[in-house]
């Protein structure tokens, strides 16, 4: 495997952002501009967004500045700067058509995101290998934080990857990810929307119930699919501080 290649380097508000590529997958490493690089949290973005979307940048800044942690984002397969196949284009078109018509989109999202997850899991593991070879990072437990498609990728990743010691998931359907969820035993925070217009409440509750972890907390907020409150990112930061720094 080729070593990690850093390309550009910028900083804002005390957070250093370094673009990198591992095996043609582009990512960003977010860390404190001064002082040591804290334990890593892998941030998985949602469907249709990318490694530098506002939500990723916002979570990375909180993790670094409020938590003393560092963060890494990748463009998921078929997202951001990465190519889409004809199959990807077709799936996106089907999802958009269903959403526009107000029809249930769950079965299509679950199947397509499972396909993306199969591609993404080895990419995350290779990125973690490459980052942990850097002396400033080194070995040690890391966290994973991803909602929506970030959960569809994260559940099989955390089930397979023993270096991930704590995870924040949420806002996803039950059936396609439940078998891997049952294998997960690390501490979890799970976020769902109580009035989600796409994901039936019972499926969110059933997915939380499915995880094998003995330490798990459900955070259900009143509101619709896209209305996850900003304070859940603060809560996730404190969760990772509890599990990665104390």
């Amino acid at each position: 495997m080729k070593p990690i290649e850093f390309t550009t380097r910028t900083s804002s508000d005390g957070v250093l952002e370094r673009d990198f590529v591992v095996d043609d997958v582009p990512g960003v490493l977010w860390s404190a501009e001064t002082g040591p690089t804290g334990p890593l949290v892998l941030l998985g973005h949602g469907g249709g967004t990318h490694k530098r979307a506002a939500g990723m940048s916002g979570r990375a800044h909180k993790l670094v500045l409020d938590g003393g942690l560092s963060a890494v984002t990748l463009d998921a397969p078929a997202h951001g700067d990465r190519p889409r196949s004809a199959y990807d284009e077709e799936q996106v078109e089907i999802m958009q058509r269903l959403m526009a018509a107000g029809d249930p989109v769950g079965p299509v999202v679950e199947e397509y995101n499972a396909d993306i997850a199969r591609r993404a899991v080895p990419e995350w593991r290779a990125t973690l290998d490459a980052l942990q070879r850097l002396p400033e990072i080194g070995a040690g437990p890391v966290g994973y934080f991803g909602l929506n498609m970030g959960t569809a990728i994260g559940i099989p990743l955390v089930a397979a990857e023993p270096r991930i010691a704590a995870a924040v998931f949420g806002v996803f359907w039950h059936d396609s990810v439940a078998p891997a969820a049952k294998e997960i035993t690390v501490p979890l925070e799970f976020v769902m929307q109580w009035d989600d217009e796409h994901i039936p409440r019972e499926q969110g509750l059933a997915l939380f119930d499915a995880f094998g972890s003995t330490q798990k907390t459900l955070h259900a907020n009143a509101g619709r699919h896209k209305e996850v409150p900003r304070f859940e990112s603060d809560s996730a930061t404190r969760f990772f501080v509890r599990h990665l720094l104390s």
Copy 2:
């Protein structure tokens, strides 16, 4: 009404504790030893405990030291330093017998706690009147935080008392408190135990669902009835800071 009478005054770890009596109800006011008295949070204790139980003291210290708030606890009717009637003694005996036998205790707790709440609500309102006449406290929105019996008292109190602007409830059955819960519209955090051996999961979820508030968050933790994690007190402190100080 008689003014508030302060009796003893002690302090520990930077928190001033002042015992007081309002209309024969004993309470404790917890505030910063130095600096201003922050907005008040009313703390309702659980069944069988009292105004100085470890949980009350711990929450009060967090609210004062981490949140810049102040806190007040009262002995609930038939608790702590207060007299128990023959009816109270009988109810406690019935509950203890049911618990020892492993029989469902919910219906008895709900009925007895509803009786205690009818007595406690006017006491809390009189205490709030008396405290807000103190220049160091004054008028302004306050919070309410109580689990178990503290929720049985708190739900009718918050439904009736417009000065309470935010509340943390949890770990209680649905039926007896649902009518008052529907009338509550202030921001809420609601705590339940996912594996509660006394309160069926469906009842906790149904009570969360019943609240009229548009801003409400459910925190469900894996674990049994008495295993609410300590970090929920930290979360409650931040919740009150968001709603009473910003």
